[in-house]
Amino acid sequence: MAKETLFKGGEFLLKDALPEEVFTPEDFSKEQRLIAQSAEEFGVGEVASRREELEDLNPELVRDLLKKAGDLGFLGVDMPEIFEGSELDKISSALVNEFISQGVSGFSVAYAVQTGIGSLPIVLFGTPEQKKRYLPKLATGEMIGAYALTEPEHGSDALGAKTTAVLSEDGKHYILNGQKQFITNAGFADLFLTYAQIDGTQFTSFIVERDWDGVSVDEEEKKMGVHGTSTRPVIYQDVKVPVENVLGEIGRGHVVALNTLNVGRYKLGAIAVGSCKLLIAEAVKYAKTRIQFGKPICEFGLIKHKIAEMVVKTYVVESMVYRTAGLLGLALEGIDPAKEDAGHKTGEAIRKYALECSINKIFGSEVMDFVADECVQLMGGYGYIQDNPIESAYRDSRINRIWEGTNEINRLLIVDTLMKAALKGELPLLEEIKKVTGELLSLRPGMAEEEGVLAKEKNMVAMSKKIGLLSAGAAAQKYMEKLGGQQEIVALIADIIIEIFSMESALLRTLKKVEKEGEDSSQIQLAATCVYVNDSFAKVDLLARQIFAAISEGEELRTQLMALKKLARHTPINTIALRREIAESIIPVARYHLTKV
């Protein structure tokens, strides 16, 4: 039997993986389950039990909780053991992120920064001295990290930052001047991983300590959500940063910034899974006890529809997140964390999956927003009242579509990454596009009625890939290197790619489960996959039509639309009945029940 296989970043568009070749939550090892349980116990016992105290900013408590998490090894999940880290595999680290915060944003955000963007730049790009000096303290929670990239006038356009760094006359220091904006953890952070331009052109990363002269923070921002977190501007006024604190290479700050964000992006997917599961439990519990028209509202069709949609989408994000974690794990195999170049190699290996990381970020944050929104809707007026934790969950969720690169920037990145990989010859994208285009005339209608489990859905995913290649190819041919200027079209292509990766992740996971455990115990997973793939396939069709209509006209457009019609042909299935089945299976247990951890 085939084993988990290392595919290249973006390769899923060109090649169909076998179920055995991807990692799924059904493959968690005993240790991984134990780690998840331990994170959950900590989350329930220490974090969720203090939810109310963490509703508003409580820096002492947050620091204290981070310290406790550090004592148990939870802050060092992605740090090497030689620097006091716990050095977990990527699956375990995703599991910790999923379970540790129990939806309490006051903790989850501080935790995500501390273990992600607030320490990873050092893990990945620090010199041995920098690692020795800072990582053990970050791993125990003795030091709190923050990531200071954004500036008042540079958000998405981060690399154009205005903060300056000038080498002192004696050559021992860089003098930093400038201001950073919206810096999470700023109120109580000890360390700012920051960026500045040397000589106005060399974008460079620096490690800045809070108590150095000239470092100050401004007032707390009043935010829409995540009220239990600290967000302040950080100001540098003639800050003397020792040259030893340059992080990474001079002029290569973008490498530090972007590689760190890749990791943050896929982890955001894991956090989304955790939040969605908690929200689903709340929604179902409410729907079982809320009586209207003489019966619990969970017995009404539209409520069942909502519950099923939440479950289906959560199942898909979960499938995607652990598939990606599995890929990253394989990509990092053979890198010795104790070696000096381990960080660089890790960053480089993960960079190759930037496309998948962006998909996780976009899809995870959008599903989390969807689930929070439907949860409010299901609870009606009660969902809108401030004492209900759902109300804050709804506001908290919104930031995830904005930070770690907006979802718009990430959509552009998906296509940009793909095109670059194609041009560099890393992916035979252009060849595949030619092949599909060549097949067009001889193409027989899709949906040959195959036999077997999820055969129709398998076919839909395969056809979606062809549709994706066809539409992306047509757009690339029309605009060539100027495609990037057509943002709307690029985003449509990105959406097709996201649909393909999400559909396929759920499909492969369910097939793998059926192969291992049989169809009987996989009924709900099968239903969820059918519902998702059928809806998603219709979306892919619409997206492609929009692309063709924007780039072609006349005879050319007609030919393209005819080809699309052939590829997108399918008989709709009764997703209403399937959604009812899904909802009715979760109502008795009142918690997300598709994964055993």
Binding site: E31, E41, G73, S86, P588, V589
Partner: protein, 264 residues
């Protein structure tokens, strides 16, 4: 000081329990299994004593393969060794047979003290501590909220809460202590602990390894038989008493308590 902790795996208290069609067991398909919370106190107490006095903590569980997960949890918390007694013949054993099997596994070991939960949160029998002490012929100190080992390690002084008072008991060692809530605050398994637990020895034993005969355990050897399991009655919907004034409502309440509920 060598300490043994006996633990049971039970359904998580959050689990939705359904009675199986046979009427005297539960449906286990969707159950999340965890270490019995009372046994966690035992693990924690054993670890604290070990940290103070040295020695080794051995954890013993009885049941199917899945029980190793709970044993691993105890190892991740800091215990040194694990033993799983796993034999199909043990299925549906009562407390007497469980105590017999545990005693058989413990007999050959070098131990000074045994902890186990004062009861399992699943069936609430509370008998294993007593049967175990009996089979080993050592004292049992039950439902304990505080335990102090003497400096020479030869005796133990324990507290039991009784009706607002505290009963202080002293006993020679070895002894069985059954643990009660309040004894301590069990620690979380740390990540380094979990990684280390992977390499700790976990031995599996069958009845034959323990020198026991299948006829001494399992369904056939039960002294106690479960006749029937019934879920608690569904709570009936409440009644809201209508009335214009508090006086009217009070009068209606009294009438209902008298005439319908027949409580007054």
């Amino acid at each position: 000081m060598n300490i043994i902790v006996c633990l049971k795996q039970v359904p998580d208290t959050d689990s939705q329990i359904k009675v199986a069609p046979d009427g005297n067991s539960i449906v286990t398909d969707d159950v999340k299994w965890v270490m019995n919370p009372y046994d966690e106190f035992g693990v924690e107490e054993a670890l604290q004593i070990k940290e103070k006095m040295g020695g080794e903590v051995t954890v013993i569980g009885l049941g199917p393969k899945r029980v190793t997960e709970s044993i691993r949890t105890a190892l991740a918390m800091g215990a040194d060794k694990g033993i799983l007694i796993n034999d199909p013949a043990l299925e549906n054993s009562d407390a007497l047979a469980t105590g017999r099997a545990l005693a058989a596994a413990i007999k050959g070991l070098d131990y000074d003290l045994i902890f186990t939960g004062q009861r399992g949160v699943d069936d609430d029998m509370g008998l294993v501590g007593a049967t175990l002490a009996e089979f080993l012929d050592i004292p049992q100190l039950s439902i304990i909220v505080k335990a102090e080992i003497s400096e020479d390690g030869k005796s133990v002084k324990v507290n039991r809460a009784v009706e607002g008072q505290t009963l202080v008991i002293e006993s020679s060692l070895p002894a069985v202590i059954t643990t009660q809530k309040g004894l301590n605050e069990p620690r979380y398994a740390s990540l380094p602990g979990i990684m280390k637990a992977k390499k700790k020895p976990l031995e599996e034993k069958t009845l034959a390894d323990l020198g026991l005969d299948p006829s001494q355990v399992g369904e056939g050897a039960r002294k106690l038989k479960i006749m029937e399991l019934t879920p608690p009655p569904q709570r009936e919907t409440g009644k809201i008493i209508e009335g214009e004034t508090p006086e009217e409502k009070a009068a209606e309440l009294v009438r209902l308590l008298h005439e319908e509920a027949k409580l007054i």
